[in-house]
């Protein structure tokens, strides 16, 4: 369950204050798939960052699985993120010079798992996203679609309860975008809580989407 109560986020820049969100309140229930739709710069990505505790709100309260993440110390927030949240970034944010294997290893490192468990998890997602043959290639050598699959695999490798996807189809062609929709459906079937921030109309009429929130000028309706 994700709950926002009167959340305001203001960015302080040399040019002045920018109100990214103004007293936003909304919720996404456990196992729901919610779409945040809106133009670029409307505040969608800011909402995802706040859910993942990558950023702190200026005002207001955010509950994720009944935990007030704003009040968590940095280390607790990291541990919470590690176990509960998988983030799929718009530009993938892979370590370009590292191999696919090393990119997938990254979220497992802080867990201190044994060798067998690490191998099991990596092999599982490699197979699930059909990237076994790319395992040893550097991420930068992959195509856009392959890079996105690696980014999704990395987000899911710790089996998080919440998946956040920021403009997941922005850099994909129609075929690859449909492939992502299939993955999304599978996540929904697995009872994951999913929040997708997008301006792609492809997501608005999907029958398995539970909620569509419109984000406009820092407000959610």
């Amino acid at each position: 369950m994700i709950e926002f109560f009167d959340v305001t986020k203001t960015f302080f820049t040399p040019k002045g204050e920018i109100n990214a969100l103004s007293e936003v309140s909304f919720s996404v229930a456990k196992g729901e798939l919610a779409v945040l739709k809106g133009r670029s710069g409307s505040g969608k990505s800011t909402i995802l960052s706040l859910i993942a505790s990558l950023s702190k709100p200026t005002k207001g309260k955010i509950l994720v699985d009944n935990e007030e993440i704003v009040k968590m110390s940095d280390d607790f927030a990291s541990a919470f993120r590690l176990r509960n949240i998988g983030f799929i970034f718009q530009r993938y944010n892979l370590f370009e010079h590292l191999s696919v294997y090393e990119n997938l290893l990254a979220p497992l490192v802080p867990l201190g798992l044994d060798r067998n468990e690490v191998q099991r998890r990596i092999e599982k997602v490699l197979e699930e996203f059909h990237i076994e043959s790319k395992k040893d290639l550097p991420a930068k050598s992959l195509s856009g679609g392959e890079q996105q699959r690696v980014a999704i695999a990395r987000a899911l490798i710790n089996d998080p309860k919440i998946i956040l996807a920021d403009e997941p189809t922005a850099n994909l062609d129609a075929t690859l975008a449909n492939e992502f929709i299939t993955i999304l459906q599978r996540l929904k079937n697995d009872k994951k809580t999913v929040v997708v921030a997008t301006h792609d109309p492809l997501f608005f009429d999907l029958d398995f989407v539970d909620r569509v929130y419109e984000v406009n000028g820092g407000a959610v309706c």
Binding site: S78, R83, H97, L108, G112
Partner: protein
Amino acid sequence: MNRYLFDFAISSLFIAKKKNLFIFFMLSTLVFLVASVVFIDTSLRYEVVNAAKSMPEIIVQKRIGQRLRDIDIDTVYKLIEIKGVQRALPRIWGLYRFQKGSVDFAVIALDGIDYDYTQELQKVSKLYGKRLAKGIVVGSGVKQFLEKNYYTKYCNFLLPDGKVKKLDIVGEFDSKSALFSNDVILMSAQNARELFGMKRNYASDIALFIPNPDEVRSIALKIPQIDPTLRAVTKTELISRYESMFDYKSGFFFVLFLVAAFTFFMIVSDRLASLSSAEKKEVAILKAIGWSIQDIVKEKFIESFIVASGAFFLGIVLSLVYVFVLGAPLMSEIFSGSFPLRPQLEFSYHVELREYLFIFLMSVPFYLFAVIVPAWRAAVKDVDEVLR
């Protein structure tokens, strides 16, 4: 230790491959330079201390108006009466200048020497004792100089009265202690007196042998009381004179290296104080996928420790080869520059753990600090801001 953290740190080194290689070579060079100076300095100091073991505890000189004068050999009888003095031996020595090469050689009279201040002199005394009446035994540096000037079998010395004295070269002594023997010419006392225009009953100085080192200081104080023109130079003072010479040399080097080190630190600080946007992004991604600040600092520590310790070991190995295998070309000439001849120094390995520790502390921690602090600063930043 999390094995995967270590693996990930090694992989991450390749993210900023060029920068890490640049720092690796800069740091190796710095370690190489500092280590070479430390190794040369340590080796020379050891040689001084080692040679000093067989030196007399006190050398008595005669000085009038701060000028050295020849000392009357009868002074020996007065000195031997001082309580604690076991033996008092007059020595004849001096510097002889070869005008042709503008070099000075140390001339030492060998007969009558029943002590040695290097073991080599004792060996030479046994080998050439009788033949020295008509000849000289030379150090290897002197031999090379004489050969260059076509003196292969004998050498002509210019006496104070303008006459020339021809002495055969009867032998050469080779020593590992080249620092002391390279520029030495040994001859009989009679020939040495002739060369320096010294009267028969006089010597250059008198060496005192004192079995109890605790008595050296009080004996040294008693000597001017016998004759106010006598001056006692203790072994400790002699060693400190040599050491201060090396301090000066190595100090000179250290000033140079401090400048080099400072430049290095400035470059490194500049490159690291503000991480590149790629490095900031790397830290932000790690945080976004669940790494804590502590995990990031640990990873950066391992990463920088690999670079710094690798550079440290490379620098140390290179300087070991440079000093102890190659004989420190260029640097050794600067260290041995004040000797009459520049001896071919053979450095012997006497480096202790503390020297390695000193070099390590001069190089590695700074780099670790310069990497970890900016990484920590990037890790505590708002991830969202960096990723945008």
